[in-house]
């Protein structure tokens, strides 16, 4: 601790996992996460762990399924198409209540896509991803330092709740170099206690079974209800997020991961010009900081989501804000926005806000604040945000700008707003 090391994001993540006590890694090469297996191939044997280059992602995740069932801290990593292949195995681990840590260093998609950074796997990550009713804990770092420190968090959360936990990074975070300081005590796996469910040498105790099925009548539903309760507990307790300059903000940018860094730079440009812009960055994408965003929407009436996907992340933001504020979107579904671009967007939205008048005062009149949809109006919340101006009467504002901003390519064609 205390020492700063210059590292690549992928390597920091691998080193962080090893220091967190990871002693098993299986994976399959895919760009842009190859530094992780490469690093693990020498680092794990050094600390008495096992590294396997599997024949496929499918085999890799099932090796994890076996290793995690023995209680050892195990990790796999991949990038988008590889994670898709791993989803069945992740679902099995969720069904068998096994903790492990995995990372998705996201690339462009769908299909083979490209090897540049993207946030296109958002839905796959935060909605479970594989078959069946389950969730995975999702942490979204935005620096190499967090890439190095989040594996420990993931292992702790995974074991606390006995479920998969993941880091959702992207090609930029995986490839860039920054100083990292490991801010936790290195874990010695030998000092960790038995958990009471892991498979291994029985010596006197009864047999243990790890399985994800239950064919007895009504039994699976009972288990799923127990799991649902666990998920609700996580939503109540484990939310992580960061806010900057939100106190006096007229406009709050919501972004995670790499786009939050870009947004942060754009925010600084805006502040330099006297625009009151803040930044809200979810660190856990599941559990999602819904309550915190909803609370912020009581004061701030305008949000701008910046994401490197087609409008996946904005859905969770809109669900959280539930029509209490305007949520604009700047989407780059296979591109990396420049901070100047985001700043231009901020200026545009800001102009709109100023033109619309003192929104804050108008919004101060009493209106439903609950996270639950105001059912009486009988208009679904999603529709409210998606259409132009059928907003609650407390808002005397005409909003003609469409919520979804077209990306550059569309703009060039002209004719479209």
């Amino acid at each position: 601790m205390g020492e700063k090391i210059l590292m690549k994001g992928n390597e920091a993540m691998a080193e962080g996992a090893v220091r967190a006590g990871c002693r098993f890694f299986s994976g399959y090469p895919i760009t842009p996460q190859n530094e992780v297996p490469e690093y693990m191939s020498w680092r794990l044997p050094e600390v008495g762990g096992a590294f396997i280059q599997a024949e496929s992602e499918v085999a890799a995740i099932n090796m994890i399924y076996g290793a995690a069932a023995t209680g050892i801290r195990s990790m796999t990593s991949s990038s988008s198409p590889g994670i898709s292949l791993k989803q069945e195995g992740i679902s099995y681990c969720a069904g068998a209540d096994l903790p492990f840590f995995f990372a998705n260093v996201v690339r462009g998609g769908p299909g083979l896509g490209n090897i540049a950074a993207s946030q296109g796997d958002y839905h796959q990550s935060v909605r479970g991803g594989g078959h069946g009713d389950y969730r995975t804990i999702v942490l979204a770092p935005n620096s190499v330092d967090e890439m190095g420190n989040f594996p420990m968090k993931c292992f702790e959360l995974a074991e606390k709740y006995r479920m998969p936990a993941m880091i959702l990074a992207d090609g930029i975070l995986g490839q860039m170099m920054e100083p990292v300081e490991f801010k936790f005590e290195t874990v010695d796996p030998k000092s960790r206690k038995e958990k009471g469910w892991e498979l291994g040498v029985a010596s006197g105790r009864g047999k243990r079974i790890v399985k994800s099925y239950d064919l007895r009548e009504n039994e699976l539903e009972k288990i799923n209800f127990i799991r649902m309760k666990k998920y609700q507990e996580i939503e109540a307790r484990e939310v992580l997020y960061e806010t900057r300059n939100c106190q006096d903000a007229d406009l709050v940018i919501v972004a995670y991961g790499t786009s939050s860094r870009i947004a942060s730079a754009a925010m600084k440009m805006a502040r330099d010009k006297g625009l009151k812009v803040g930044l809200f960055r979810p660190i856990t994408l599941w559990p999602f900081p819904s309550r915190e965003l909803a609370k912020m929407a009581e004061k701030v009436k305008n949000f701008l989501v910046v994401e490197m996907s087609m409008g996946q992340f904005v859905q969770d933001v809109r669900l959280a804000i539930n029509g209490q504020a305007v949520v604009d979107l700047y989407a780059r579904p296979a591109g990396i926005p420049a901070s100047e671009e985001v700043f231009a967007e901020i200026e545009k939205v800001y102009k709109k806000i100023k033109k619309a008048g003192p929104v804050k005062k108008a919004a101060a009149t009493p209106r439903p604040r609950s996270v639950q949809a105001p059912v009486k109006k009988s208009k679904p919340a999603a529709k409210k945000t998606a259409t132009k101006s059928k907003t609650p009467k407390a808002r005397p504002v005409k909003r003609s700008t469409p919520n979804v901003k077209r990306v550059k390519a569309a703009k060039k064609k002209g004719g479209r707003k």
Binding site: I52, N62, G66, A69
Partner: protein, 251 residues
């Protein structure tokens, strides 16, 4: 009265769900007896597959994990590499091992994972209701080849032992049968050897057992045993394909 035989400690005392004449019950017992005799039951972890033997996790009296269809060797790899002191076996059917899990089978053999695989070949998919397996015989009827397996449409049966034989990592490969008492005894010997290899750290061992599925073959149990002897054995010859002692076998 002298007790001559009893249920092995390696089996949980419960009724199995297998059909009359099915070979799984016999092979389960042989695996359990082998664990008992080698004194490894309390450090053995078994991998149950998807398919008829999905409930093997309930029947074997050792730590068990149930995995996705075909992935037994990968799961066994994960267990063995993280807990080398354990004896790990994967119990799989033909659809599991030779179809969806062929990749895992070949690569775990190529890596010579120090695990034991019990491979039940009954030439058909049992649990899903008698569909064609990669090991279904040419001309044999199945619910997805109702007129009999036609090589032009369905291709040829896969002989797994022969397929794995060229792999240097495949330390021990033997094909046996359980259609009569004599062969049951031989199968027991092979299974025990496959475990012993693992205890000795020799590497990948697999026993392919020709087994019966009278229900999905549409036969009586007796005719099922006959089918193995007369139809399956000529296509799938019994014997040792690789062994640590045999020339050509790695050691």
């Amino acid at each position: 009265m002298e007790l001559l035989n009893k249920k092995p400690a390696g089996l949980v005392d419960m009724k199995m769900h297998y059909c009359p004449g099915c070979g799984h019950g016999i092979v389960h017992r042989l695996v359990a007896e082998s664990m008992d005799e080698l004194g490894i039951r309390e450090r053995t972890v078994g991998v149950a597959p998807v398919g008829c033997s999905v409930f093997a996790d309930s029947y074997f009296n050792c730590d068990m994990i149930q995995g996705p269809h075909g992935r037994g060797p990968a799961i066994a790899t994960g267990i063995k590499r993280s807990k080398p002191e354990c004896i790990v076996f994967s119990y799989q059917g033909d659809g599991d091992l030779a179809s969806i899990g062929m990749g895992e089978t070949i690569h775990s053999a190529a890596r010579s994972e120090n695990i034991t695989i019990i491979f039940i070949n009954n030439a058909i998919y049992g649990m899903t209701g008698g569909q064609m397996a990669p090991t279904t015989l040419v001309g044999q009827k199945a619910s997805t080849c109702p007129a009999g397996r036609d090589t032009k449409v369905n291709g040829f049966p896969i002989k797994v032992c022969e397929l794995l034989t060229p792999l240097e990592g495949a330390i021990y490969l033997e094909r046996t049968s359980i259609h009569n008492a004599q062969h049951v005894i031989k199968t027991k010997k092979a299974i025990k050897k496959a475990f012993q290899n693992q205890i000795d750290g020799k590497g990948f061992s697999m026993v392919e057992v020709l087994s019966t599925c009278p229900t999905n073959w549409g036969m009586t149990p007796l005719d099922g045993a006959k089918f193995v002897a007369e139809k399956m054995m000529p296509l799938y010859p019994l014997g040792v394909f690789r062994s640590p002692e045999k020339e050509g076998g790695a050691n």
